[in-house]
């Protein structure tokens, strides 16, 4: 799955409805992103409500960015995605490796093992969606 950024921040209405924080997200309007996974946030005391794409943002950090900021370019789901739960109501579709405990925390810290795992996962998805050059953007 690939998406194209159409906005870099949510509207006030979307923020109020979802609970996602205000301000710009680290994405570039017009740029395409490989979707590494999908998260369905169920809402709650510490959780926003709504769907988000797990992408590698412009700064290199992998995190979940709200769906309204993108349009779908390639609507095929990855065959590597697996369904899992997050919290009492949340649902995710991620590559199996992403389910490892603390994976994204370790990745953000630059833990070598997490970086190597991430690179493998990204390469696999890029091959699946015909993206060349080891870069997930246009």
């Amino acid at each position: 799955m690939r998406v194209r950024c159409i906005n870099d921040e949510l509207s006030e209405k979307e923020i109020a409805a979802s609970g996602f924080p205000p301000g710009t997200w680290d994405v570039t309007i017009g740029k395409e992103y490989l979707v590494l996974g999908v998260t369905l946030f169920a809402g709650g005391e510490n959780t926003p409500r709504g769907a988000a794409y797990k992408i590698e943002a412009d700064g290199g950090t992998v995190y979940s960015v709200p769906v309204p900021l993108f349009e779908i370019v390639d609507n095929r789901p990855s065959r590597y995605w697996r369904v899992g739960r997050r919290g009492p109501f949340g649902l995710v579709l991620w590559p199996q490796e992403f389910f490892e405990r603390y994976f994204f925390d370790d990745l953000s810290e630059g833990v070598p093992a997490a970086l190597r795992t991430y690179d493998k996962v990204r390469d696999r998805l890029e091959q699946e969606f015909g993206i060349l050059g080891g870069n997930n953007s246009q």
Binding site: A52, G60, Y63, Y102, S108, G110
Partner: protein, 231 residues
């Protein structure tokens, strides 16, 4: 992994100076500044990184962040921007019981306007090292403002779909519940020399308390990993 970072290539600390301000030295009230904003001519070899509680000053961060964003991009700073920054600076008075912060509000605006001129001058000098350093410094100021304003985005923990390894440690050290702590990130910035960085911190989503800010230099991190090899 949990060390607070000194941004060696930005030439500044990412946490407040534990030493407070001095009457008559308005720059000393800017506790984010390194050696009172004069890193070229002064050093602080004894600079200490300690826990800092920014909940009280987070209120002012958004308007200050706006000023710095505009200063960085070269946008014109409007009277409204100045007013907001002054108003929010005045709001800090309860924690800084003197006229120092009022003076600092004006001083800040002078600094922002000076920064615009400085960035333009640096551009004219065709990407001099000093220009790049200044650009990085201003970007980091903006990123800190973003973190403190509550606009930072969760990577792990509260508000995210990923577990936070240090949630228990943070609750024990800084208070609150483990589930209320999040690792947050600012937007990224790519300097003219290609260095890409962003700021990460831990934030209590209930209280707004933000701790352990550190700069993540993304490209260098990945290059180091690639150089290290591995399967």
């Amino acid at each position: 992994m949990h060390a607070r970072y000194y941004t060696f290539n930005l030439g500044r600390f990412m946490s407040v100076d534990p030493v407070g301000g001095e009457v008559g030295l308005s720059q000393s009230w800017n506790r984010y500044a390194y050696v009172r904003g004069n890193p070229v001519n002064a050093t602080d070899p004894d600079g200490r990184f300690t826990f800092w509680d920014v909940a009280d000053i987070g209120f002012a961060a958004k308007s200050i962040g706006t000023l710095w964003r505009k200063a960085l991009s070269g946008e014109q700073i409007t009277a409204a921007d100045n007013f907001n920054a002054i108003a929010d600076s005045v709001a800090l008075l309860p924690i800084v019981p003197s006229l120092g912060m009022v003076r600092e509000g004006g001083k800040f605006i002078e600094r922002a306007e000076d920064a615009v001129d400085a960035v333009r001058a640096a551009d004219k000098a065709h990407d001099t090292a000093e220009g790049v350093r200044l650009q990085k410094g201003l970007a980091s100021e903006q990123q800190v403002g973003e973190i403190l304003s509550g606009e930072a985005k969760s990577i792990a923990g509260a508000g995210a779909d990923a577990q936070l390894r240090d949630a228990g440690r943070l609750a024990k050290k800084y208070g609150g519940k483990a589930e209320d702590w999040a690792k947050v990130r600012s937007g990224s910035f790519t300097a003219k020399d290609g260095t890409k960085f962003e700021i990460h911190a831990y934030r209590n989503t209930k209280t707004g308390k933000t701790v352990e800010l550190k700069t993540k230099i993304v490209e260098l991190e990945r290059l180091a990993e690639q150089a290290g090899g591995g399967p």
